[in-house]
């Protein structure tokens, strides 16, 4: 991607868009040879996004709102599509919302994948998506005052903390079920390891009829922080702290976005080291998920074994970066630490041991007869639903789509055409697990290849100039799928806007469809199969609508039921 060819990949999409909407395309700007921002008239926005999405095999990557009133008197909306057709590139549809009329036609009715993004831009900028059926908040907490929009440049200081408006959690949950159902709330505090999130399962007997969830319990205001307190070169370390599991992928995506914006050519050795570390991170993350998959089907010795083996990858990370997690290895322009012969040999040796151990554990896991029964045809993600909602990573590849950022949009040290894509067509929990198993072995091979053939030369370049108001996308394939960042530089050695989208953001909306039609005892397993959130909660309150009674079941009971599937606590 560093090769500077005059050829601009994706020009045919721009031409197609100009033909389809002759008077609506106002401007095209190219950030790199594979990234274009096309400004369209506001009223043509939904149709432009729909055309690229459904006619030209685009996938919804992210959407960034931006308060550009200080630059051109409007709010900017940037809908980012990752094109999956013959010309693999990123197309950004940009529309300007006037300051005096802060509303825009919603894209969601035409492209359902946009729903969370449009709810978020309403929360953060106060821009009203006209025609969006879902009027609930997404990101801001229930006790946040109305009419205060954190990301508007003139709304508030980044440290401003308004007094809570309420102590009640009053988020309305949506139930589309036709019949009467029982409500099973789960969360926000979970027993196992992950972020808080609240689930409502609407059940009839044992069957899940519908589900809804409230996320963003951990919204802290990172994007505002990146624009205010921190310099643009410090944000690589902030991006490491977006996620404790795949933080390095975020850090690379962020560095990548600034490097794309400023046209920085990162030395090849630095690129290769980034890829080696990204794959190391993938190893620990996938082994973690395989361990948890064992746990949720009641195979706890497998869980402990996977965690034992996973420690090797953590020690590997500590040796290569100095820390088990939160590597803090990236700078704009390269990385902070080389891999010398000693580290290389230790890594190769550890990978050899790891391969034998993981192979044995996977054999044991897949030949345990109970496993097949618990995970086959459970939590189906229909390919049609997947196409409409643009999920990413193993969730998408488990439903038969050949999409992997490392192969589609090569970045860092991944060479074009050299990265295998693992696909399964079962659409169920088993398929997603098998995709992860194959990726573990592929990651080890990628690391070995890169180590045996590391390019020479420096690991860091300092040869670039900070140029105000440049913007571009950066992307990585994190263990959970594509991470994509949109950054715009300011004029004060800071960022004007940073939009960071984690992979799981695109995977949550399809979870509802995956839960429907399954039984309550499979819910934790299905949630774990998208790899965000591992379980239910400290306790479960069951409300039986028919009898108007409330019964509280200990979480342990709920988890036991998931593992053993006898003596339902709901009876």
């Amino acid at each position: 991607m560093n090769a500077h060819t005059p050829l601009r990949i994706g020009s045919s999409y721009v031409a197609a868009l100009r033909a389809k909407l002759p008077h609506a395309v106002l401007e095209e700007r190219w950030q790199t040879d594979r990234q274009a921002t096309i400004t369209v008239k506001l009223e043509a926005l939904p149709e432009a996004v729909r055309t690229l999405y459904y006619v030209h095999d685009g996938w919804f990557s992210t959407m960034a709102g931006n308060d550009e009133r200080g630059l051109n008197g409007t709010y900017g909306l940037y809908y980012v599509l990752s094109m999956g057709g013959a010309e693999k590139c990123h197309m950004v549809i940009h529309a300007q919302v006037p300051e005096d009329k802060p509303e825009f036609p919603a894209v969601t009715p035409l492209v359902p994948a946009a729903v969370w993004y449009e709810r978020e831009v309403r929360d953060m900028f106060g821009l009203e998506p006209v025609g969006l059926p879902d009027a609930r908040r997404l990101v801001l907490p229930d006790d946040w005052p109305d009419g205060l929009y954190p990301l508007r440049k003139d709304s508030m200081d980044y440290r401003f903390r308004p007094a809570p408006t309420t102590d009640a959690e009053n988020y309305p949950f949506i139930n589309d079920a036709k019949q009467e159902t029982t409500v099973v709330p789960l969360g926000p505090l979970h027993v196992t390891s992950d972020e808080p999130g609240h689930f409502r399962l609407f059940v009839d007997g044992e069957d899940i009829i519908d589900a809804d969830y409230r996320m963003f319990y951990v919204h802290r205001g990172m994007e505002k922080l990146a624009e205010t307190r921190m310099g643009y070169h410090d944000v690589t370390f902030l991006a490491d702290r977006v996620c404790g599991i795949c933080g390095y992928a975020h850090s690379v995506a962020y560095a990548n976005s600034v490097e794309n914006a400023l046209g920085i050519v990162v030395p090849e050795r630095g690129q290769a080291i980034r890829s080696i570390l990204l794959e190391t991170e993938r190893l620990h993350s996938h082994l973690l998920n395989l361990g948890l998959a064992c746990h949720f089907v009641g195979f706890d010795s497998g869980f402990m074994q996977f965690f034992r083996v996973r420690e090797k990858t953590m020690m590997l990370a500590e040796m290569l970066t100095g820390h088990r997690k939160t590597y803090s290895m990236n700078l704009i322009g390269g990385v902070r630490r080389d891999i010398l012969a000693e580290q290389k040999l230790t890594t190769l040796k550890t990978l050899g041991e790891l391969r034998c151990e993981v192979r044995r554990l996977v054999d044991i896991l897949l030949s345990t007869p109970n496993i097949g029964g618990r995970v086959t045809n459970v939590g189906r993600l229909d390919p049609k639903v997947a196409r409409d909602h643009s999920p990413v990573g193993p969730v998408l590849r488990g439903s038969g789509f050949r999409r992997d950022t490392r192969a589609d949009h090569p970045f860092a040290g991944y060479l074009s055409g050299a990265t295998p894509i693992n696909v399964q067509t079962g659409c169920d929990v088993l398929s997603r697990t098998l995709v992860r198993v194959s990726e573990v072995f592929d990651s080890m091979a990628i690391i070995e290849n890169l180590l045996n053939d590391t390019p020479a030369g420096p690991i860091l370049t300092e040869d670039f100039t900070y140029t105000p108001y440049k913007f571009a996308l950066g992307f990585t394939e994190a263990p959970r799928g594509e991470d994509i960042h949109w950054s715009m530089l300011g004029d004060n050695q800071k960022l004007y806007r940073w939009r960071c989208r984690a992979s799981t953001y695109n995977n949550w909306p399809v979870l509802r469809h995956m839960l429907r039609g399954n039984t309550v005892s499979d819910a934790p397993l299905i949630v774990a199969s998208i790899d965000p959130c591992y379980s239910c909660t400290d306790r479960v309150t069951v409300v039986d609508v028919k009898k108007s009674t409330t019964k509280t079941v200990a979480y342990k009971e709920m988890e036991r039921y998931c593992r053993e599937r006898t003596s339902s606590p709901l009876k």
């Binding site: 979970h190 390891s193 808080p196 034992r308 630490r337 400290d538």
Partner: protein, 263 residues
């Protein structure tokens, strides 16, 4: 016009909780010596998962905190210790308080990780209340971003009086005429900086420093052999081809500087 903005002017502070003397006394006894296994309940108030994942590592086979009787339980009602991670976000204030209320007295609160201790990198943001101690009284702080499993187990051991606090403290008093020595005063400063910078570009901060030091030591060695011969010997001793490559680069820097000086 541009009056400074102080954080306290912007911030509503959540009200802290207080505890009765009786409970405080019980808790003091528990902290000194618990004398039995303890049950821990995790409360994630807005962490990034890094802390959670290291707690997980601490309770699984390699580190195995259960051998010290430390067990993670699924309900705050069973807990002796509440382990708070993450900067407390607005949305997690009420769930965090509910978990605290649900645990039986006397309970120990451990604040875990940089964010739990102070709010960390997020300490002053609009959707964050700060560290755990902004909403509940904290007894033990475990630092790190995230703390390693070793640090986690050590922190618990401190909390439970499993370890006597035997830190070997020493004091150093600066003597008459004592000062920190300069590195390689005999090498021109500009040359040293150029070598160190090139080494950092090639091998990063950690390895670059080691490699530059080896190179400068060879350069400054008071041997009869010529500089070129000494550096050739240094390169010949090295078995790592990558380090040999970097030495080559450093010699090029040296040559460029010397030629520049001479001409």
């Amino acid at each position: 016009m541009n009056a400074p903005i102080f954080r306290d002017d912007l911030t509503i502070k959540p009200q802290g909780l207080s505890m009765s003397n009786e409970v405080a006394a019980l808790k003091g006894r528990l902290l000194k010596s618990i004398g039995r296994s303890v049950y821990v309940y995790r409360v994630d108030c807005g962490g990034c998962n890094g802390c959670e994942i290291e707690i997980f590592a601490a309770i699984t086979p390699i580190f195995d905190a259960e051998r010290f009787g430390i067990k993670v339980v699924p309900s705050p009602r069973h807990a002796d210790i509440l382990l708070y991670t993450g900067a407390v976000t607005r949305a997690m204030r009420m769930p965090g308080l509910r978990a605290y209320e649900a645990a039986p007295e006397p309970k120990i609160v451990v604040s875990y990780g940089a964010c739990g201790n102070t709010g960390g990198i997020f300490h002053d943001l609009y959707c964050v209340w700060g560290g755990t101690d902004q909403i509940v009284p904290v007894d033990v702080y475990i630092p790190g971003c995230p703390p390693s499993p070793q640090a986690t187990i050590y922190g618990f051991a401190m909390a439970l009086g499993l370890l006597d606090q035997k830190l070997k403290e020493t004091h150093h008093v600066e003597g008459e005429g004592e000062s920190v020595p300069l590195i390689h005063p005999e090498i021109p400063y500009a040359l040293r900086v150029a070598v160190e910078r090139r080494a950092r570009e090639m091998a990063g901060y950690l390895h670059g420093k080691v490699i530059a030091e080896a190179f400068l030591a060879a350069l400054a060695a008071p041997e009869p052999a010529s500089v070129e011969a000494r550096l050739a010997a240094l390169t010949a001793q090295e078995s790592d081809p990558r380090v040999v490559e970097i030495y080559g680069q450093l010699r090029a820097v040296l040559r460029a500087m010397v030629v520049e000086q001479a001409s």
